[in-house]
């Protein structure tokens, strides 16, 4: 029937952002030893405490084993066959966009995010991470006026070592897990944001990550701190070029919200997912965690995950302060041979803490989509609440959806609610739409977007539009 054919056409759409930019790379030799780490640290001219921290992490990492509990399959990764650091070569510090390698600017233009225009786009500051080093940062002055510090992680290490020292590893310790520990040892760059007491960050902060150098693992590290009563909304989006060989991506994001502070962190993830046969694609092992340290603080994660061959990611919130609020809104799409094991952890420690989890998993092709979530309400977290809604949508009959909720409630005054549903994109729904004159392709897009609406409405406007577009492109789905 036309059904299958039309959807197949969608399926076979090539990855739009698959191109490679020719830029001279400054790299360290392949492989991982203490020397590699010293070399990275030296290249970045880091203070001693950073090197010590990295080495501590590395030594711990040597004692760790790669986790195997996740519901994903991939060939063993040779950690000695990875280049751990690469930076675009440049003359000196860049003062304006004119100094940026035109090749790099062209790359952004292809991605539809020309920095020149971004500069003018009201309300969006861009800290563009190209490979591992930030090459351009805009809106700095405006942010500086308010006392908001927003820069690359490397710059923060140089300029605000005390802040970095205080908060680095305070949410995700260097010994946290295999991938986070690896990141702690070798991370090359990332973003740093500090919003001082009582300040509402005047614009959405946005970073575009992009893997470019072949065979270069990317190890980003982001740290966001919102002091008492501060507010910040941070957007992260990524695309990556087509590759034959799998690429490892192990990022760490740490958020700290002090009393009454709010952090909203939104992600649209579109790493190269591999081809229709499951070759290539990014391995995305990410540790994202926020700490609602102060009373009445709030952290919200919103993610739209459409890319990567493998996604392993559990943006979490530690609800430490009383009345703290944690939220997780997620859309994860797996198609072809993509695998995702993703979800969240909500750890309730403070009294009257509340968490909400809305997870929407979409599986198509041979995609495998697992929701894995932990809701833990500790003894002292009296009167706490969790609401979890976990919906899976299947397109076709060769894909899979799995839900693995873990719920632990240690006191009598708290309550956790879990609702889960799995539906196949209905033949009934499709027929209903088509009987009304809507083509099958449009109907699938409409139904999937509707399924995700609860999450999309949490995204900042410009991202919501992008996410919808991305979803329809990524619906390389097949109705079997």
């Amino acid at each position: 029937m036309t059904t299958t054919n039309e959807v197949r056409k969608l399926t076979e759409r090539e990855y739009e952002h698959g191109f490679v930019t020719a830029v001279d790379e400054d790299t360290v030799p392949r492989g991982l030893t203490e020397e590699t780490i010293r070399a990275i640290s030296a290249k970045k001219n880091e203070p001693q405490f950073m090197l010590d921290w990295r080495l501590k992490a590395f030594r711990h990492w040597l004692t760790m084993k790669e986790p195997t509990w996740q519901n994903v399959r991939y060939p063993p990764i040779d950690y000695q066959d990875i280049i751990y650091y690469s930076a675009p070569k440049r003359k000196a510090a860049l003062k304006s966009l004119d100094e940026v390698d035109p090749e790099i600017l062209k790359t952004y233009a292809k991605l539809g995010i020309p920095l020149e225009e971004q500069k003018m786009l009201a309300g969006v500051a861009v800290d563009a991470v190209f490979d591992s080093v930030s090459v351009a940062t805009t809106f700095k002055e405006k942010l500086a006026e308010k006392g908001v510090l927003f820069c690359s992680f490397s710059e923060a290490v140089q300029k605000y070592p005390e802040l970095v020292k205080k908060y680095l590893g305070s949410v995700v310790p260097y010994s946290d897990n295999f991938f986070a520990t690896l990141n702690s040892a070798v991370f090359s760059d990332g973003s740093f944001c500090f919003v001082p007491k009582g300040v509402r960050c005047p614009m959405e902060l946005s970073t575009y990550f992009r893997i470019n150098a072949a065979d270069t693992g990317q190890f980003e590290r982001t740290l966001i701190v919102a002091e008492d009563g501060a507010y910040v909304s941070y957007l992260e989006g990524c695309t990556a070029p087509m590759r034959d060989k799998n690429q490892l991506h192990a990022a760490v994001v740490e958020l700290v919200a002090l009393e009454g502070a709010q952090i909203k962190y939104s992600t649209v993830q579109n790493w190269y997912p591999g081809d229709a046969q499951g070759r290539g694609g990014i391995y995305n092992f990410v540790t994202k965690r926020g700490r609602c340290q102060g009373a009445n603080s709030k952290i919200s994660w919103t993610q739209v995950e459409t890319g990567s061959a493998i996604t392993w990611k559990y943006p979490s919130v530690i609800l430490q302060g009383d009345n703290a609020v944690g939220e997780f809104y997620s859309v994860a799409l797996t198609n072809n041979y993509q695998q995702a094991d993703t979800g969240t952890k909500m750890i309730h420690m403070g009294k009257n803490t509340r968490s909400t989890i809305i997870s929407k998993g979409i599986s198509a092709g041979h995609g495998q989509n697992t929701y894995r979530g932990l809701v833990k309400i500790l003894k002292g977290a009296a009167n706490s609440r969790n609401y979890t809604q976990c919906d899976s949508l299947l397109l076709g009959s060769t894909c899979g959806a799995h839900t693995m909720p873990y719920i632990e409630v240690r006191n009598r005054s708290s309550r956790a609610e879990h609702e889960a549903s799995t539906s196949k994109i209905g033949e009934d729904q499709l027929f209903y739409c088509r009987q009304r004159g809507i083509s099958e392709e449009d109907a699938v897009t409409m139904i999937v977007n509707g399924f995700c609406r609860q999450v999309f409405k949490e995204l900042p406007m410009e991202f919501a539009v992008e996410a919808q577009k991305l979803l329809s492109v990524s619906l390389e789905g097949s109705v079997g």
Partner: protein, 261 residues
């Protein structure tokens, strides 16, 4: 040329024959009712005409405006003016009713070479049609059929009928599960949609809808065939005597000649 001509239609699912030689002709402006007990094949016929691919046709043909209807995709049938009011309207969570109907109407208009309606024009159109089924505008902002009561769902079907403006409207048990007030609203809506250039095919289990929507022809379906055809009297007779009365009749194939007399 007839609007719809069904000739000796045999169809089934998984090798089990459900329709066993249906013959039916409908002309523009006519309202036909098909009655019959559960399992007689009424809904199969409705779904088949609308393009549901669950059923396979083993024999016979269906001409719509002289063309082979069965070879057309469901969306092509919609563009050609075939509309099915579903017995069980489908919920589409997260998709606004307004957005859904405008997308549908514009998909059809685009294919017919007409200009698409923008949000404002569509709102004006929707407002006018909402009156017909006594629905509040707030229904348009809800997700398609989600959380609608049975009656609301059925009214929403008639609303779509009015918005999409078909030539052949098939109403599959639109009256089932309605209380008398809701039934009257639906019936008014349907009557408001009767036009000389539009035919309707009402599929119903009970004759009570026919008290409000008076059909030109009534057909009784049994065992995959049209067992009897007549006027409104036939519906009343059925109501009185029940479907068991039909079963006591002689074999319908031999009776077809008798009915024709």
């Amino acid at each position: 040329m007839h609007l719809l001509e069904i000739r000796n239609l045999h169809a089934g699912v998984d090798g089990k024959e459900i329709l066993r030689g249906v013959n039916l002709t409908i002309d523009p402006g006519e309202v036909h009712a098909i009655m019959g007990p559960n399992g007689s094949g009424k809904s199969t016929l409705a779904q088949l005409l609308a393009g549901r691919d669950t059923y396979s046709v083993s024999e016979g043909q269906v001409l719509y405006q002289g063309e082979d209807l069965l070879s057309m995709s469901p969306e092509d049938r919609a563009v050609a003016g075939v509309f099915l009011a579903f017995q069980y309207p489908v919920e589409i969570p997260g998709v606004g009713n307004m957005y859904f109907m405008r997308t549908a109407l514009n998909a059809i208009r685009r294919r017919r070479g007409l200009e698409e309606l923008d949000a404002m024009d569509f709102l004006a159109l929707a407002k006018e049609k909402l009156k017909l089924v006594e629905m509040d505008q707030k229904f348009m902002n809800r997700s398609v059929n989600e959380g609608f009561s049975g009656g609301e769902k059925k009214r929403n079907e008639i609303l779509q009928l009015a918005v999409l403006d078909p030539k052949l409207a098939i109403l599959d048990e639109t009256d089932s599960g309605l209380d008398i007030d809701a039934l009257k609203i639906i019936a008014n809506g349907v009557n408001g949609q009767r036009r000389p250039d539009r035919a309707m095919l009402l599929i119903t289990h009970y004759q009570r809808l026919l008290n409000y929507v008076v059909p030109d022809r009534v057909h009784v379906m049994a065992d995959g065939r049209i067992a009897r055809s007549g006027d409104r009297q036939l519906a009343m007779e059925l109501e009185q005597k029940g479907y068991a009365w039909l079963e006591q009749q002689p074999d319908p194939t031999s009776r077809r000649g008798a009915v024709a007399q």
